[in-house]
Symmetry: C2
Subunit: 297 residues, 2 copies
Amino acid sequence: MDMLDRDGLTESEFLQRYSPGDYERPSVAADMVIFTVTDADADSYRKLPEKELRVLLIRRGGHPFLGQWALPGGFVRPDETTEQAAARELQEETGVDDVYLEQLYTFSDVGRDPRTWVMSCSYMALADSSQLQLQAGDDADDAAWFKVSYRLLRERKELIDGGFIKALQYELRLSSGEVELAAVVERTVTAKPASTATSYSIISNDGLAFDHAKIIAYAVERLRGKVNYTDIAFNLMPKLFTLTELQQVYEVILDKELLKAAFRRKVADLVAETDHYTENAGHRPSRLFRRNMEDYR
Amino acid sequence: MDMLDRDGLTESEFLQRYSPGDYERPSVAADMVIFTVTDADADSYRKLPEKELRVLLIRRGGHPFLGQWALPGGFVRPDETTEQAAARELQEETGVDDVYLEQLYTFSDVGRDPRTWVMSCSYMALADSSQLQLQAGDDADDAAWFKVSYRLLRERKELIDGGFIKALQYELRLSSGEVELAAVVERTVTAKPASTATSYSIISNDGLAFDHAKIIAYAVERLRGKVNYTDIAFNLMPKLFTLTELQQVYEVILDKELLKAAFRRKVADLVAETDHYTENAGHRPSRLFRRNMEDYR
DNA sequence: TGAATAGTGTCTTTTAGACAGTATGAC
DNA sequence: GTCATACTGTCTAAAAGACACTATTCA
């Protein structure tokens, strides 16, 4: 390119002389909602264990939010993308690097970090629990996998002039052993004649650092939204699994029971059967399946 | 909170003494893909005009990418969210402030801005064209509304060890009067046994600044994805519209013809009929509808 | 009257929901 | 045989696709 600008400079001349101004810049953190699905303790050896959706949190060892629980994350460096920063943190926290990673949303509320101007570019990671070391307190950090519950608590709709406001409050409950965290997050849809806007806010929060309740709520909603029309759930499954296990994963994500026959029809093209079966259960063995890579939509 | 950290400080003491380190921070820009739908010139007064999906671009008056076309946007300031920055830029560029705004994705590729470290937090805005001044060259800037075409160009699938790579190339064409811009963007899905990853890359680019071809492609895909299961399209409609116009908007977004009867069934609950009709068309008048705000799902 | 669009009726196909039935291995 | 789960068959209901038909205005 040889175009000259107002000062008669070429692009390379311009770039050589360019110096960034000294206006303020934010720090950008990559924070991660790492989901996995684990087995609950079975009541009896004959019953199948229930599945639980879990998320990794880290107990803060310093101010601010000392003693509270936060999502794993860290600051993005100049030589990497936000995604690479997320993958790097994930590797450091969990020791795995080959997991599903999806950018969620960039949170930038003023004052969301009391120290300084920090934006959070958040990611959702999905990992098969059999590849993870699930023990808490692995690092010097106090890390733990929390069971996730996210349920509609209250619903309010109000008609306004030519539109409406709809507010949905969801209760987020996180539990790990003795530790119980809870928060209420509200999603508000404001529909006006010309435009519709959606906003999230934290109504109450007990034990979660920063605005991380909002980020986790956003992640659960994204996961629920995608589970039905994508094959995202397979990122939570081991290589071989039974169709009942796959259904349990869908159910624990959606917090809703599904009908077996309909579920099997729905996933029929997504899975491929193998010649392996489960063994030594107190009941009929189940065929093991793997993800079907051949005819992907 | 009166918890003390390792140094024996309370949270407020900690914050008072806190000083941000001098490590490098990125600039964060809010860039916007502003969509609207306009009428093409009708062949005959008796025929209905076709609809066109349009996006606002600004011709760069300085380096880098001098003379090329870029999305409107600007840097986020410390006292505002990325969304507020986007809304502010939108107001400055188009004079409207009551439009639909949705965060898309944060692009952070290293070197995406040749000057310095800049991330782009991108937004999609949807506006009713009757509220906009559609003339180009409104500001001192050279601004124009480009007709958007986004079509699948090539599809490639390759089976790899235990997984596959699927690459979809889309051609993005933007035209405004004599100006024609074109780019090819590839979406690559890499499915491995443990995880699936999706990435976007620019294959070719003629006339678009920065990585904005990728951002526009991402916006079109988001819009197409949401049009079928949300009421997002109403943000592109005037207060009163015919069902044929609504269908045309769906069709121009999806780049696909829809069946009239099925379409009307689908949107039946989303619209409310009025007692007004179109007038002076060269054919039977059409009932005007408005968006139904009463029974929102 | 005819060109062009508005709007409806109905048949078929597909998909989802519901539920009952049979099958099988460990004890 | 019994328990618990595996797996299948089939009826019904709802949604989507396809297409033809009638209705209405204006030049």
